[in-house]
C-alpha cells in the first residue's frame, strides 16, 4: 500500500502566518511585481507544500499544484487555440474556474507542466507524480467554437495532451496521473472516452493512473478496467456506490482508494479508515492500493489538510500492524 494525494494542496497557510502566495498574486495583478518575482514565490510555496506532505509521511507526493490557477486554465493557456472567458463553478464545489474557449486549432507546441514537474522532482526527497487534466474533462468544461463537434474537439485535445504525456514520460516519473472527473457526469460518452484515453496514452512508458472523483463509476464498470491505465482512482466519499461496483467484477488493477473526505473538515478516525481498508481488501489486495483523499485538498484550510494527511499515514500503519 502506498499513501498518496490526488493533487492540489492549500496555497496559503492558516492565519496568523502570512498568505505569501495570496499577497504576491495581488501585487502581480496590481503590476507591483514581475511575473519572474511571482514565479519565485510560487516555487518557495511549492517547496513548503512538498515539505508538508513529506513530513506528514506521504510516500508519493505531488507539487501541490501551486502554479495551477485552476485545473482548466493551467493547461488551456499552454495550448494554442484557447482564450479564457468568464467564471464557472467547478463541478459542485465552492471553487470556480475560467471557461476556456476553443477559437482555433488546439495544438501542443511546448511542454506545459514539465518545467514545474522537474522543479518539484529535483527538490523532493520522496517520489513525485505529475498530474494532468485529461482531454475529456478539459473539453467538457470548455466551450468549443472551432471544431465541427464535441467528439472532434475531445480527440484533438487527446492528441495534443498525448504530447504533454510523452514530454512528462521523458522525465522518468514513477507514475503519471490523468484526472477525468467529468466522465462520471456523462457516462454515455464512454465509447468516445475510451478512444480519447487510447490516443492520450499512446507511446507512454511510465505507469499511468486514471483518477475519477465527485461520483461513482456505476454504468462504466468493469469497462473502465479495459482502459490503458495501471491504476484507477475512485472516490468512495462522494461515490459510495463504488462499493457496489467492486462486487461486480474482479478489480485487477491498482486502486486509488479515495476514502478520506477532501471536502469536509470532519477528521476521520484511524478506526474508521482501518475498517474501510479492511473492507476494500476483500476486493483488492492491499499491496495494490494507493491510499489517498477523495480529491485534491485545496478545498480545506491548510491545517485541516495537514491533519488529514497525517491521519491517512496513521491509518496505513495501523492497518498493516506497524507501530506508529
Amino acid at each position: 500500500m502506498i499513501t498518496t494525494v490526488v493533487g492540489s494542496y492549500p496555497k496559503i497557510p492558516d492565519p496568523p502566518a502570512s498568505g505569501r502566495w495570496r499577497s504576491a498574486k495581488e501585487k502581480l495583478e496590481q503590476g507591483e511585481i514581475s511575473s519572474e518575482e511571482f514565479l519565485q514565490v510560487e516555487r518557495e510555496v511549492t517547496l513548503e507544500v512538498i515539505r508538508e506532505q513529506v513530513e506528514a509521511g506521504i510516500e508519493l507526493i505531488t507539487d501541490g499544484q501551486i502554479r495551477w490557477e485552476d485545473s482548466q486554465t493551467y493547461f488551456a493557456r499552454g495550448l494554442t487555440g484557447f482564450t479564457l472567458n468568464g467564471l464557472q463553478r467547478w463541478f459542485d464545489t465552492n471553487m470556480y474556474y475560467r471557461i476556456p474557449v476553443a477559437e482555433g486549432e488546439v495544438l501542443w507546441t511546448d511542454p506545459i507542466s514539465v518545467e514545474d514537474y522537474r522543479f518539484a522532482k529535483a527538490r523532493s526527497p520522496r517520489p513525485v507524480k505529475p498530474v494532468i487534466t485529461g482531454p475529456y474533462t478539459l473539453a467538457r468544461l470548455s466551450q468549443n467554437r472551432y471544431y465541427a463537434d464535441f467528439e472532434d474537439f475531445v480527440l484533438n485535445l487527446a492528441l495534443a495532451l498525448n504530447q504533454e504525456l510523452r514530454a512528462l514520460d521523458a522525465e522518468d516519473p514513477p507514475l503519471i496521473q490523468v484526472d477525468e472527473p467529468a466522465i462520471l457526469k456523462y457516462k454515455s460518452d464512454f465509447p468516445l472516452f475510451r478512444e480519447a484515453m487510447i490516443t492520450l496514452t499512446e507511446g507512454v512508458r511510465a505507469p499511468l493512473a486514471l483518477y475519477t472523483y465527485f461520483g461513482d463509476v456505476t454504468g462504466i464498470y468493469p469497462e473502465i478496467l479495459d482502459l490503458p491505465f495501471d491504476a484507477i482512482g475512485l472516490d468512495f466519499v462522494a461515490g459510495p456506490r463504488n462499493w457496489e461496483v467492486l462486487e461486480k467484477a474482479p478489480f485487477e488493477k491498482w486502486l486509488g482508494f479515495g476514502i478520506l473526505d477532501a471536502r469536509n473538515t470532519r477528521l476521520e478516525s484511524v478506526e474508521e479508515l482501518v475498517r474501510a481498508l479492511d473492507r476494500v481488501s476483500r476486493y483488492v489486495p492491499l499491496d495494490r492500493v494507493y491510499l489517498n483523499p477523495s480529491a485534491g485538498l485545496e478545498f480545506l484550510p491548510r491545517q485541516v489538510a495537514r491533519a488529514k494527511l497525517q491521519r491517512l499515514v496513521e491509518a496505513k500503519r495501523a492497518a498493516l500492524g506497524v507501530g506508529v
Binding site: P15, E26, E29, E69, D92, N94, N264, R266, E298
Partner: protein, 325 residues
Amino acid sequence: MIPSHLFPTTTVGSFPKPPQLQLARRKHRRGQLDREALRDLERQATREWIRRQEELGLDVLVDGEQYRADMVTFFAEELDGFRIAGMVRAFGNRYYRKPVVVGPVGRRRPLLVEWFRFAQSLTSKPVKAVLTGPYTLAEWSFNEYYPQRRELVLDLARVLREEVRDLVHAGARYIQIDEPAIHSRPEEDFELAREALTVITDGLEAYTIVHICYGDVAKIYPSMLRLPVDQIDLAFANTRYALLEVFRMYPFTRDVGLGVIDVLQRRVETVEEVVSGIQRALEVFTPRQVFISPDCGLRTCTMDVAVMKLQAMVEAARFVRTMIP
C-alpha cells in the same frame, strides 16, 4: 415603491471598504482597536457610500456591507451553530474564511436591522436589505453537525425568515436573497433551494429579489422561474452576455436584474458598451422587466474603479431610457 421610470438602477450589495477601515479591521482582529471604534468607522464608511450612491443617481440603494468580511463569514459569525474553519480559495486570489456548522443554527439577535435603519435614515431613496440565502450558507460551509443537508438548509431558512420579517417591520421594501450556490447540484437540490426560499419570502410584504451568479444557469432554466421572488438578478457582463441565449428558448416571466458590469475586471466599461449590452438584453426582455445592476458585489474592486464603473452604468441606463418611447 418601485421606481416609476424604466430601467431602475441598483447594485448587488457590497462596496469596497476605504483603506482606513481595512486597517481598522486588521487592528481590531489583533485586539488593538475596540469594537465601538471599529463601529464608528463602519458607520462613517456607510454614510459615505449612501452619499456617493445618491450622487451617482442610483435608484435603489444598499448599505454597502462595510461591516461584513464577506457574504458567508458575516452570517456564520453572527449566528449560533457555526465556527470558522479557516481560509479557503474560491478562485484567483479570492479567499474566504470558510465556516463549519458544529451545532443547531439559530439567531441570537437581529443581524441587519440596525444597519438597515441606520442606512435608511440617511436617505429618502429606498435601501435594499441584502442577505445570503440558506442554500448558499449551507453549501459554502463545512457541515460536521447535521446528518442531512436538507435539515440544515431549512433550519437556516427559518432563521432568515425571522430576520426578513424584522427587516420588513423596520421598513425595508426591497429584500434581496443572494443564492450564488443555487445551481451547484441542481438535479438533486434545486427543489430544496426553492422550498427554503419559499420559507423566507412567503407572504412577505416587500419586493423580493434572488441574486444568482457564476454558474450553470441553463441547468436551472426554466425551473428557475418558479422561485418565489419578484426579480431574478443575474451576471451577464462576465460571460459577454452569453446567458441571453438561454432565455430565448422560454419566456422569462419575472423581472430581471441585468448584470452589466464585470466586477472581476479592473477595466472600466464604456457607456457605449453598457448601452449595447442593455440593447442586446432587450431582444429577450421587455423594458418593464429590467433593473440595471453590476454582475455581483463590488467589494473586491478599488474605490475609484467601483465608482467609475457605476458612473458608466447609471449613464448608460439614462441613455437607454431616452430611446424608449
